[in-house]
Amino acid sequence: MRLSNIAGQTIIGWDWRKALETRIFPELSDDDKGEENAAPKSQLQAGVTLAKRYLIQEVVGLGGMGSVYRARDMHFPNVNKLVAVKEMIISAPDPLVRETIVQNFEREANLLATLHHPSIPKIYDYFTLESRSYLVLEFIHGKDLEAVISDASGFLLEEQVLTWAVALCDVLDYLHKHKPDPIIFRDMKPSNIMINSSGELMLVDFGIAKAFQTGIKGTMIGTEGYSPPEQYRGEATQAADIYSLGATIHHALTRRDPRLEPPFSFAERPIKRINQSVSSELEVIVERALEYDPVNRFKSAAEMRDALTALARKTGILVRAGSLPATPVNTDGIKPLWKFKCEDEIRGTPTISQGALYIGSYDNNLYSLDASDGKFQWKYPTDGGIVSCPTVVDGNIYVGSEDKILHVVSARSGKVVWTYYTEGPIRSSPRIADGHVFIGSDDKYLHAVNMNTGRMVWRFETADAIRSTPFVMNDMIYFGGETGDYYAINFRAEIKWRFRAKRAITSSTVGTGQAVYFTSMDGTLYALDPRNGWVLWRYRLGKSSISTPCIVDDLIITGAADGFIYAVEAKSSKEAWRFRTEHQVNGSPVIYKDSLYCGSVDGNLYCLEYRTGRLRWKFSTEGAITGTPLVYDDVVYVGSTDHNVYALLA
């Protein structure tokens, strides 16, 4: 039990609020659709005439308590007069609650009837039929601001948001100056703001608007993220409406929904950090409206409106459509320490050992370069392109080639030690554990090869090519295949469990004792329990992915074909940040100190701050980067399809 220290009356105040929480004309969200499917019977059907007057045309919205319909007013038979009919179904069993709900519905109606403002919808009628109450309002042809924000492909224009902010200050000013008592709207948020087809705005849902009586406290619990701190203490004042307006503008400018963030955390998300095109002046105004202490905010909606219009005049923003330039990022002036040109594309990943860099190329050679200056040491020719990442153990280099062979070469001399033949091209990279080399092949087998003799120990058959690199942890081998099957097998090739993704798994696995992580062509980043294959979580990427994730701190970071690099929290599968490149991200990110390095098919190597995803620098090559960079001793090594290997200062 809770809230016992707060008078019973105030709790009823909360009930009213819930009871009347009905949105007018929101776009149908997924949840709403589910609700529609769950209870279609309770909705009025098109063609029904309500109170012998309102011909229901269609459902235009759903609220917590009922539907909102578009209807035609049949008292005007010769014109097509449309109205919005807001329905509230009273399903609460408690008679006291029922009575309260009806009373408050009527209160909203009576309140609306006394208001005259271009941004407040006109009320035409209200009535109660059995356990349903109806409010008949001006029909607004448009959608709510929440939908406008989420449907926009990018940030809304500052001038547009500024125009709306001025209009909202104006309507708040009207309400706050209402006689005899000021009206506190109390629920300013994007879903309560309708934007009509000509861009004008209407404030809807006066369910909890409250004539202000000093000395009486109301209670708010479970607010929407737009509410000010003092509202939790039961204070609903003009300053509270100003805060909520600030929160609404913040949401519109940043596209960050405050309901998904901790309360009062706007200061942690400065507008310009998210949307650099917003002017500092507007940021300052919004910050002032969002001041924690009400006395530091604007004294009135009129004062805030004056600040906004002064800004509009001063900067001429209302007539200027352009935006301020983004903060420049260091993109030039990065010179590689050295570069080395192969005879064909480099699509794979280098490795480093004892001062030598080893990398395969589509000119069929495995190269050994001096890591310090890029000087050629030797090359080892195969009969196919090499995308496989070489692995060095005990002075030997293990690498697969599209000539179907696993080659083992002496690191010092570049001479062959042994070879192992599979029946398909090898794109997988060797993984060495427990005296064995594990490697996948397009021949559909995962091969286990004795690392001393080069003899097959066993091979594990799957239904299609294996291009991922097996991951070994706790005497188990984890890998995915091109059919979308994912396997966990032990060192005796006995299958422990299997999982199936909807499409191919080309990505390799990374893991901890808690989970194994990989991506799939089905556009999902998966987290599976390594012991039994149960899915802990799935994170939807924008498109398919073959990028292998990396783990750092509490983040799983991976790329996808939609060009984004995604950072997802390992525990909660929540997105921490995402970074957009100009083309597919097929290679994997790597972490070095507090930076993340990742290539993109757009030709750039990106260096980001891994905790925030902020760009530090980028380095452009002449071709796509599909491999994974290697960072060692403050130097980044990366190959490009422009045939070059680059070494850059990290």
Partner: protein
């Protein structure tokens, strides 16, 4: 009964400790990274383990009504790789006027447990067994969202906290809204809060507006900014975490954790001969401290 307790205490209380052998081998020191990797991967086991649990509840000394609801279900389930321990543990602390608190907390438990069990144990509901497409986190999220909808329909205006832990094997997936808590209590006397209270007082502390000392006496300690049944967009906290081994998972309402000192909670759990007794001790301790609110607690351990 006495025999039963002796058996249980044999099981949990006085397990013979294996003799320690001195390691005399010379070893090279491991690097920080190597150590971290070993620690990270240490608890990977494939053997079947025993999950045990107990629950306790009391109306307290000062309330007439119990608005808390508790659920503890422990079983096993046939999985991808043999039988796995399965547990579902929920504490919900209802709030609101008109005796609706218990309606909300009850609806929350009923809905969440119903949907989760239907997924994992469809035969209990006489429905066809289908393979599970969704992840643990998706199943928990769907269940919480459905509970939100049911509460808004059945008891508009009321609300409830919800801390629900789905245990499968060594994974705990927690769905959390409000200020009931999930804690890990370790045999070495540490206690860790794995959930974050969605309360005004917690948030003000996070923002540095009040100190922990001020929080103790803050007048609006009971005010939540997130509760099941309230708000039109609920974002429950959902995360997966490894079961503490060795250790105890505790889920409790603020009638317990807000009333009994941490040291006393640790003591009650670690010194009790079994989990049932530990629950009784915790409830008694909360009542002895005045029992200002309803008291609910669930304890669970993974053994073996």
């Amino acid at each position: 009964m006495a025999k039963f307790f002796r058996w249980l205490s044999g099981l949990f209380g006085n397990r013979p400790k294996p003799e320690k052998k001195m390691d005399t081998a010379n070893t090279a020191p491991l690097t920080e990274d190597q150590l971290k990797a070993i620690v990270n991967n240490q608890n990977v086991q494939f053997e079947l383990q025993q999950l045990v649990s107990a629950a306790g509840q009391s109306v307290g000394k000062q309330r007439e009504l119990n608005e808390d609801s508790v659920l503890a279900i422990t079983t096993t389930m046939a999985g991808n790789s043999g039988n796995l321990p399965f547990g579902l543990y929920i504490v919900a602390d209802g709030m609101g006027g008109h005796q609706f608190g218990e309606v909300a907390s009850n609806a929350a438990i009923r809905t969440v447990a119903g949907l989760v069990l239907k997924k994992f144990h469809p035969y209990l509901f006489q429905v066809k067994t289908d393979s599970i497409e969704e992840s643990f986190q998706e199943i928990m999220s769907d269940a919480v969202n459905e509970a939100q909808r049911i509460i808004q329909r059945e008891a508009p205006g009321s609300g409830t906290t919800l801390t629900a832990a789905l245990v499968l094997g060594q994974q705990i997936t927690i769905a959390h809204v409000g200020d009931s808590r999930a804690n890990f209590i370790y045999p070495d006397g540490r206690i860790e809060t794995v959930t974050r209270d969605h309360s005004l007082v917690q948030r003000l502390q996070e923002l540095g507006h009040i100190t922990p000392e001020e929080a103790e006496n803050y007048p609006h300690r009971n005010v939540l900014y997130k509760a099941l049944g309230q708000g039109d967009l609920l974002e429950p906290e959902i995360f997966s975490i490894a079961f503490p081994q060795p250790g105890t998972l505790m889920i409790s309402s603020d009638g317990l954790w807000g009333v009994v000192a941490e040291q006393d909670i640790i003591h009650a759990v670690n010194e009790a001969p079994n989990l049932q007794r530990a629950c009784q001790n915790l409830v008694s301790a909360a009542n002895a401290a005045g029992g200002p609110d309803n008291i609910s607690v669930v304890l669970a351990q993974l053994i073996g």
